[in-house]
Subunit: 333 residues, 2 copies
Amino acid sequence: MKLASLKQGRDGRLVVVSDDLAWYADAAAVAPTMQAALDNWADAAPRLAALAEDLNHDAIPKERFHERDAASPLPRAYQWADGSAYVNHVALVRQARGAEMPDSFWHDPLMYQGGSDAFLGPRDPIPLGDPAWGCDMEAEVVVVTDDVPAGIDAVAARSKILLVGLTNDVSLRGLIPGELAKGFGFFQSKPSSAMSPVFVTPDALGERWRDGKLHGTLCVDLNGQPLGRADAGVDMTFDFGQLIAHAAKTRNLGAGTIIGSGTVSNRDSDGGPGRPVDDGGVGYSCLAEVRTVETIRHGKPSTPFMKRGDTVCIWMDDERHHSIFGAIEQSVA
Amino acid sequence: MKLASLKQGRDGRLVVVSDDLAWYADAAAVAPTMQAALDNWADAAPRLAALAEDLNHDAIPKERFHERDAASPLPRAYQWADGSAYVNHVALVRQARGAEMPDSFWHDPLMYQGGSDAFLGPRDPIPLGDPAWGCDMEAEVVVVTDDVPAGIDAVAARSKILLVGLTNDVSLRGLIPGELAKGFGFFQSKPSSAMSPVFVTPDALGERWRDGKLHGTLCVDLNGQPLGRADAGVDMTFDFGQLIAHAAKTRNLGAGTIIGSGTVSNRDSDGGPGRPVDDGGVGYSCLAEVRTVETIRHGKPSTPFMKRGDTVCIWMDDERHHSIFGAIEQSVA
């Protein structure tokens, strides 16, 4: 099934969305908000699934679903923990600045604790206080978990994945070096992220959901031009079970925890650092990687970060070219 | 006024607590949970204050308040951002390991994004999967904010402070070096923290709350022996207004954001690295600082981290030796 939160109050209003994203049905009788459903998933999920089936069979009252009316499915969450599972991306960034990548990065996931108190809606503008902050998108896959006990193993952790979606993990590249040099990780350099209009249960993704990964082309357009067409199921060094197990090593995770994959990134077919989409490659899911590849190839980056008025669009289509999660479409304000 | 959340469900049950912590009155008529009150503070605060006044004047039904029945006031929160405002503490830790401290640390706060999805209750045991993780307490002051707009200045930010409390920011010292070396900050090394049973409005703190700081002796006992008696208002390089402004530089903060001071630490009166309480000093608010001072004085640390069965107690008394926030009392499980 597919779920969304229509904009209303701080936590939105939970609705069930038809598989083709054309219609929605009110889900207030089950739970007023997505967090409320997640807090009581064992009870809520079958009732929401019944609603979804009725909606898809036109058996209950329905309204037109407009992605622009959707908030992020969890407009605020109790936890947002973002991994960096496409180690290819990390290796490229390190190569560009001439830094060795520790071998441990291939078997011990990178993960940071992100801010989760105020996600942007999927069509909300990206606030940018200063263009020098170096505004970048990061197109990623996310999952939402049930309650997860501390110490869970990576295989069992897969069974805790309740929902799957996409995110634009907005990054302020100009603030990252100074912040990481201080040693406490990201804070100001990671402002509010935006999530896809719709989150989907793993079972509804069919063959696209396997091995704890989402498979399929993650599309990223910048100002209407193709920027990224990488496959989210390829070159993902750590599956979501491993990422959840990493997050839960020393503590329980509360229901509604959002775990991110990190920027999706595929190796180039020739083993090189990746080519743009119009050069026959799969492109890039963030501008930092574009600039990294430019640096490796030409000695310095030429693509600027996002400026006021620039737009980014992030989505994934199914085999019939229908959007699975709806689109994140944001402009820099 | 003083507020607490009795253990109930995921978010507790909001109650108003008498100034002497002896009684409580139900606050469900105003808001079922503390987060609900914070979401609508302008409306809720005067009604809660009226309840508190009635309770203190014995004008409404009341029940005995037992700290052991309290959850952390926000059993889960949408944001926990912990500063490191007692730069003396940072300087000592760096001195012990022979690392220069950048001068910028005196004017640019350190802050990390912490996990906020599952705080421990003030009397809950501290789960510890492996003694080698090096379990430590960090006694700190916290504030809870209203909605804060991005870009707020440090003086205006003080007016966004709605509640004040204490925390034990549990740290796993054995996991910190490896995690910080990866560059993404703390994650596994910062398991769930615990908060004081009661949070207090700044106005109810009188002279103890001034200049955006809490003044008074923060008491820390380890296994019933005095470990720390530092003054939270002394040597705090950044006040809470500055910490909030730092957190809000690039994004809004949602109502109910918890901002921490970092480990409270006072310079020794002789300018040296600090003496134990039974040696006439104000002691230490975490074991890492004890070990740091031992390293500076004797070349290596001799005090071990916490092991199973060890207990830590954190509280602050008023001038009549009454507990202001109640006590955090935890044993390692």
